[in-house]
């Protein structure tokens, strides 16, 4: 296996440019400020949500993976084009006049780059890959989704054991899709390519979230991200901690739930807290919940619990039942996929 320059460019396009373009369109439609980081996060989230929406019915119909590849690629091209046609692009609009703001921002970038570089240069052998990554490898190899035994490669033709969970949370399909488009082996996509983009995404999420927690001042926002990274790096208090999952095996769906999904739900809910009348925020939360379903069965459960609790508290504080119900309704995809999973399993 090798990684050519073309492979790297294609990966940058599929996991870097396309999410920004998709996010740009979603932000435009949701009347959100067009910022690079925000577009990237929302774009990636929207891509996962579309992947979930497209792939699960095809998986249930035992259809070919190539249909998923064609449909996903087509949809992303269409969504990306909308922003380009409207000629509206993300901007970088932060006040960096103050020296501390500048220093803080640079420090934050160094922290994020350090995490990305260490994520690439270090390796963690994780036995869970014998299911998660092998599923993606098998999808690329057979063009069938979750119908082979990941341990032996034997064609099963039905969903058995833990694979039932993957039917409703087919994160491996997204990895396989990236692998197919870029021509990179699915294992390399998972272990080398994906972490780079997910760590950048996590950095962006915490940066956007910082605004809701520490205000507008850039130095404090940067400091918040740096502290978050420090907690991620030093949060190895047990193998099961969210920090351990984020730092050791970020290519696995459940780790992305822990590292990106949970703060993303907090971020969107806090936005709703601030602007509870803005309906498009509920749509973004709905998209987020859908994307959590793709990542992992844990995403389905955690997404529901978080939105349930945050919705209840915010509804009470705002004394507005519509806030509560609106937020609860965004968990609808989680409930549906949980029900489908229960029926299958």
């Amino acid at each position: 296996m090798s990684l050519t320059f073309t492979n790297i460019i294609l990966a940058a396009v599929v996991l870097g440019v396309v999410p920004v373009l998709v996010g740009n369109t979603v932000c435009l439609l949701c009347d959100e400020e067009l910022l690079w980081g925000k577009s990237y996060v929302i774009g990636m989230m929207a891509m996962w949500a579309v992947c979930q929406l497209i792939s699960v019915p095809i998986i249930l119909a035992k259809g070919s993976f190539l249909i998923v590849v064609a449909m996903l690629s087509g949809i992303f091209v269409i969504i990306s084009s909308y922003g380009l046609v409207r000629k509206k692009y993300p901007a970088f609009s932060y006040d960096t006049q103050n020296i501390w703001d500048k220093l803080g921002f640079v420090a934050m970038l160094i922290f994020i780059i350090a995490v990305v570089v260490l994520g690439v240069l270090l390796q963690h052998t994780d036995h869970d890959d014998s299911r998660f990554v092998v599923n993606a490898v098998d999808i690329c190899r057979t063009n069938r989704m979750f119908l082979t035994n990941p341990a032996s490669g034997e064609m099963l033709g039905i969903w058995r054991g833990e694979l039932v969970k993957d039917v409703t949370s087919p994160w491996a399909v997204f990895i396989a899709w990236v692998a197919t488009l870029t021509g990179i082996h699915a294992t390399v996509v998972a272990h080398v390519i994906l972490p780079v983009f997910i760590y950048i995404m996590i950095g962006c999420i915490y940066f956007i979230l910082s605004k809701e927690i520490v205000g507008d001042r850039l130095v404090y926002r940067s400091m918040f991200v740096c502290f978050a990274i420090l907690v991620l790096v030093f949060g190895f208090y047990s193998n099961a901690s969210a920090e351990a999952y984020t730092m050791l095996r970020i290519w696995q769906g459940k780790a992305i739930v822990a590292g990106a999904g949970v703060p993303l739900v907090f971020l969107l809910c806090m936005r709703i807290y601030r602007e509870c009348e803005k309906k498009s925020l509920y749509v973004l939360l709905l998209i987020c919940e859908m994307s959590l379903c793709l990542l992992s069965g844990m995403g389905i459960i955690l997404g529901t619990v978080m939105v349930g609790c945050l919705g209840l508290v915010y509804g009470i504080i705002k004394r507005n039942i519509r806030v509560c119900l609106g937020m609860w309704l965004t968990a609808f995809p989680c409930v549906v996929f949980y029900a489908v999973n229960s029926l299958l399993g």
Binding site: R141, A228, A242
Partner: protein, 520 residues
């Protein structure tokens, strides 16, 4: 109510304890929560109240019982979001300080608190410098590359440690078992689990591993240096060493080296039963069928139960040749007490009164007990002298039956069987003694048997010199230990054993292992 309190203690409290490790970080989070609760009205509403509610939901025993117990519970604690709480407090502290030196101290204290209460993730034992582009262990890659030089899609048997990564490296590799073999991802077959356990154990049963490797067309076998494979076994199964990587050796058997191994017969009593008598044989074919002959006399012996469990609790055929307690006792015990399924049961056919007249008290008593267990079998077949069966391709001839001997009583009479594969025959003499010599005499000419093996009961007396010269078996089984043969109870078994060995015959007994032969 007490059940719910129990749930709170275990597993909820236990999971929480294991999740937060030494709890320093939990303490830091608690301090952060209290600080935000008191210091910031906005964050209290936006962040702390929801987090407290989520914590209450997660540690709720009712929700645990009906929902959270169905998922990996410890991951529920991810929603407590310490990665948001702690930085929020750290920055808030700094923001709240007015002077620069105060801010610097707040910054330093925050950094120190995080570093002091936590553990750095880069210290994880399994987090190492990148070894290859796939980020897999070099050992797995090295072993897989050796196999891939010979076959694009290698089917193999390899230790689990390698198997869990092999398919991450290359999806075309097909190990017989991987991480799932103990049921983690999906339940593997009992036989696969048994082979995995054997291969990962201190002394793998390579005879069995290679038999099934061949049967399942697994052309590659990966073993560990510390568990060497007997060269004779490798030759027997046509596996050759094609390479080594670190502590692993890779063996390969090319398709042109394939041989039909036929039916594997194993004398199970060799599982260290000491001086006790035991008639317990199992026959397996490459399709995974299990045939039990007799089964032995004592309960609690792990050998037979383990075999049946390896075949998912299914016995395709069980042949009882005698109601001697050493032969049929296990049938009664296992059929009654174990969750096993017997497809076909073969028993001697006789008129009960005739049998009662010749049987010993113990035999008759056991027969009476066994009768009640016959219904456990799906089909019961009664056999008599002259019957010929085809059991999954293995031809079984009944050469002698229980009570027929010119009307004379045979207190230790039994069914004598000829088990014939495609070319070779094994004579199974059950508990019978020298009175069946006349039955066996002239057998090979009359039936065109190519007698390769003979089972001789405990005394070995069936085979006298004359009969040996006629049948010329390659190996014989004597159902006794050496020490038993040496005692007077063994009569002249030891002398017979010595005589046969002088003639170049392999003599299997309870002190030799593995006691497996193949009827081809």
């Amino acid at each position: 109510m007490s059940g719910l309190i129990e749930l709170l203690k275990n597993p909820i409290q236990e999971t929480m304890s294991s999740y937060y490790g030494d709890k320093r970080f939990l303490l830091l989070m608690a301090v952060c929560c209290i600080y935000l609760l008191l210091a910031s009205k906005e964050l209290r509403r936006k962040l702390i109240y929801p987090v407290i509610l989520m914590a209450a939901v997660i540690v709720n025993p009712i929700l645990y019982k009906y929902i959270f117990s169905k998922v990996v519970y410890k991951r529920m604690f991810w929603v407590i979001a310490d990665v948001i709480l702690i930085p929020a407090v750290a920055v808030k502290l700094i923001q709240d300080c007015r002077k620069k030196w105060q801010k610097a101290i707040a910054f330093a204290v925050s950094v120190f608190a995080i570093i002091f209460t936590g553990n750095i993730v880069y210290s994880h034992d399994n987090y190492v410098k990148i070894q290859n582009l796939e980020k897999l262990s070099d050992t797995t890659k090295g072993v897989c590359d050796i196999m891939l030089q010979y076959d694009d899609a290698p089917r193999c048997i390899m230790p689990i440690e390698i198997a869990v990564e092999a398919r991450v490296y290359n999806g075309n590799i097909e190990p017989m078992f991987g991480r799932d073999c103990y049921g983690f991802i999906m339940s593997a077959g009992t036989r696969e689990r048994a082979l995995a356990k054997s291969l990962d154990g201190a002394s793998p049963d390579y005879e069995k591993i290679m038999f099934y490797a061949k049967a399942d067309e697994r052309r590659f076998l990966v073993t560990e240096d510390t568990k060497p494979v007997n060269t004779a076994l490798l030759e027997k199964y046509n596996y050759r060493h094609i390479g080594s990587y670190k502590q692993y050796n890779v063996y390969y058997s090319a398709p042109e080296d394939d041989t039909d191994m036929g039916w594997m017969v194993t004398q199970l009593a060799a599982y260290k039963v000491g001086n006790r008598l035991m008639y317990r044989y199992v026959i397996e074919d490459s399709d995974g069928h299990l045939i039990v002959i007799d089964g032995g006399g004592e309960r609690g012996e792990t050998g037979l139960i383990r075999y049946i469990q390896e075949h998912d609790g299914y016995v395709d055929a069980w042949i009882i040749t005698s109601y001697a307690p050493q032969s049929a006792g296990a049938f009664y015990d296992l059929a009654n007490e174990q969750d096993i399924h017997i497809n076909n049961l073969y028993i001697p056919d006789f008129v009960e009164d005739d049998y009662k007249a010749v049987a010993t008290e113990a035999q008759w008593s056991l027969y009476e007990k066994c009768k009640s267990a016959f219904s456990k079998a799906e089909t019961v077949h009664r056999l008599k002298k002259g019957d010929r069966l085809d059991i999954y391709g293995l031809k079984v001839d009944v050469l002698e039956d229980l009570v027929q001997k010119n009307g004379e009583k045979q207190s230790r009479g039994a069914m004598v069987l000829a088990l014939t594969g495609r070319e070779q025959t094994m004579l199974y003499c059950s508990v019978a003694g020298k009175q069946i010599q006349s039955t066996l005499s002239g057998l090979s000419t009359a039936y065109d048997y190519n007698v390769k093996y003979i089972q001789l009961a405990n005394s070995g007396r069936v085979l006298n010199g004359e009969l040996y010269n006629e049948l010329k078996p390659e190996a014989v089984f004597i159902d006794a230990s050496i020490s038993y043969m040496e005692t007077t109870r063994g009569q002249n078994a030891y002398a017979i054993k010595s005589y046969l060995e002088e003639q170049g015959v392999t003599v299997y007994n309870f002190d030799t292992w593995p006691n497996s032969v193949y009827i081809r």
